[in-house]
Symmetry: C2
Amino acid sequence: MWTNSEDKSLRERAEAVIPGGMYGHQSVRLLPDDYPQFFERASGAYLWDADGNKYIDYMCGYGPNLFGYGHEGIDAAYIAQLKKGDTMTGPSGLMVELAEQMTSMVSHADWAMFCKNGTDATTMALMIARNFTRKKTIVLAKGAYHGAAPWCTPLKNGTTPNDRANQIFYTYNDVESLEAAVKEAGDDLAAIFAAPIKHDTFIDQEDPTPEYARRARELCDEAGALLVVDDVRAGFRLARDSSWSRVGVKPDLSSWGKAIANGHPISALLGAEKARNAGATIYATGSYWFSAAPMAAAIETMKLIRETDYLERTQALGQRLRKGLDEAANRNGFALRQTGPAELPLIMFNDDPGLSKGYAWNQALMKRGVYFHPWHNMFICAAMTEADIDHTLDVADEAFRVVRDAGPLPPVEKLAILGILADDN
Amino acid sequence: MWTNSEDKSLRERAEAVIPGGMYGHQSVRLLPDDYPQFFERASGAYLWDADGNKYIDYMCGYGPNLFGYGHEGIDAAYIAQLKKGDTMTGPSGLMVELAEQMTSMVSHADWAMFCKNGTDATTMALMIARNFTRKKTIVLAKGAYHGAAPWCTPLKNGTTPNDRANQIFYTYNDVESLEAAVKEAGDDLAAIFAAPIKHDTFIDQEDPTPEYARRARELCDEAGALLVVDDVRAGFRLARDSSWSRVGVKPDLSSWGKAIANGHPISALLGAEKARNAGATIYATGSYWFSAAPMAAAIETMKLIRETDYLERTQALGQRLRKGLDEAANRNGFALRQTGPAELPLIMFNDDPGLSKGYAWNQALMKRGVYFHPWHNMFICAAMTEADIDHTLDVADEAFRVVRDAGPLPPVEKLAILGILADDN
């Protein structure tokens, strides 16, 4: 029996000491009602909320969980290094080893810098591109998420127009709009930023077309600018190399995070030889950037990436989920839009402009132990099994019946109030 | 016998895969020759470099090590939570508990937000002040370090003038210059930023005068702006409350990091009631900001802060060091400038404009197993003993003799080349 009294009690206490009760991407404010805000523990593919309800977790910590929560080998590497030395007065040799491994695995990369947040890595990319070119303008895809710093946060509160100066936007996969943006930059182009796939929230995902990716490369080369692929969210989930290795295009800089240490706190910026001096001459640092334990965990994660079939497994599990959900939807009179790579699923309903079907379905899944997200891409982790997927499909079938039986529903009010439905869907 | 062949070998490998061989505050590029770049392990007050040389470490990881490296109770709390759940799809209840504890310990604070870097916390302070006031200008002390983001990095490479727009500078502790800066901000003042003490690099430290701190408070109140104290480096090292509790002034916002989890990766922004809504309505987040294990470590650290005599201990050890060093310097014909609180020592030589005495002395200390820093404030940790201090004093005496015997030395070339000696000393 699903209950949430402990979650409610924690939310009341949080309301007193945390602004708005919770902030950032893990706030459940815009999720269906009753989504748990607080969690007690996690293991493999599963998550238990503060009330002890168990979920198969398709959010994977919003990306970090690639090999399973609490992975024994990765956590053992972390703990062993923690006992030797973690945050010291300088880095350990593991920093060199990790840089050697990542640059040997990612084909465009000749050097690495490590940091903590994905935003640290994208901000370093911005600074290095400007330092390299001595130019200012960056060209970015409209709606793409590159972090929460003043220059890139999706909410403008607390920022000034100066924070976003020298930015021109294009439409992902639209070569003409990319060309127009670069033309507008004139002789001031420092970089083109691209997500590895279009994985914006609230809308369908898109794989990059080879034409778009290649044109971005050409335009950078013509202008002497740097091409940046922001692989923080998708890195090593689509390939054992840069995600754009799938379209045969090498960026100059790529930002990484989330899955690179399976949840231990580390992010990275990888770069090509030509940007090395520009990387060496910006000032970038943080209190915990040189800590050794997350590097030990990342080295163990790199080994699993190289030596296991995690990629083929997560792809096959994603395909099994996608196919089964389509069948279950059809059986119940619905049609789904499942977009992007199957291992990074985004699942929306056709004919659901108010997102009410999606919300009702996700809520029914959640209350039955399957944690899905209605408008953010999800993640398949290598700890999931075919049995997990099949159980998910059974629960999804039940949830479709709940939505069908509910009949027509009004648009989701909390989204309508914010104008999200009107603007983006 | 001190050797550094392993360090040299790691540096050569690092040169190939890390821009400049190392970046950020833990690069030893500007330290005396032969300072080790890589470390193997750390325990209590001690550090072993990659070649196995042991040091009493007065840098404490540049601040995080407050209770001793590898503190048993703190690390046990971290590991126990890691085994339950760390980076999950949402926070654990520990986030609420930590926010409750920190807001009850820090007298100006009614709410808390947690993040990873010190820079995250200072950047949130900037955004919240602008969001609260709907104004743009921030007034900061010249030369103060508030992080490495484009708006505050000490090196301009890779930044644009827009990144630093709406900033006016004053001189720390100089009430007239503060008033002039605020006057220049006109009706656009969003915040005054202040370090808890003047702890800039390369120059003497200063405690804040009560007049300066009170005037900053008044000027903010008159303008409806927010007063921000950046306690990332000094927080909980000078007081069990905000560092400005020592001068009886309550900021509206304070940034914290480094020592709050004894080296585990977490930072925080604490705020007063009036800024709560402004905090709730900016977008601030990061992949690992909600991770539970560092919060478990921070809760254990808070307990030690409340329940042990660490503060009085580190103060007494700092005083013992200061007094003994002055005596040893005098015995050898030198005079030191030891500035700032004794538990955050900064030690410079009188009559040493080229820093050559300081460099020679620090290098001699380092080769004898005492890790000092010639131009950045150091840190006393609670794992140090009187015997450690007394041993340090013996070594310092030897090192003074080395400097004395060396006779006059030229200015430190690597600093002169960068213009640091000319500009800042």
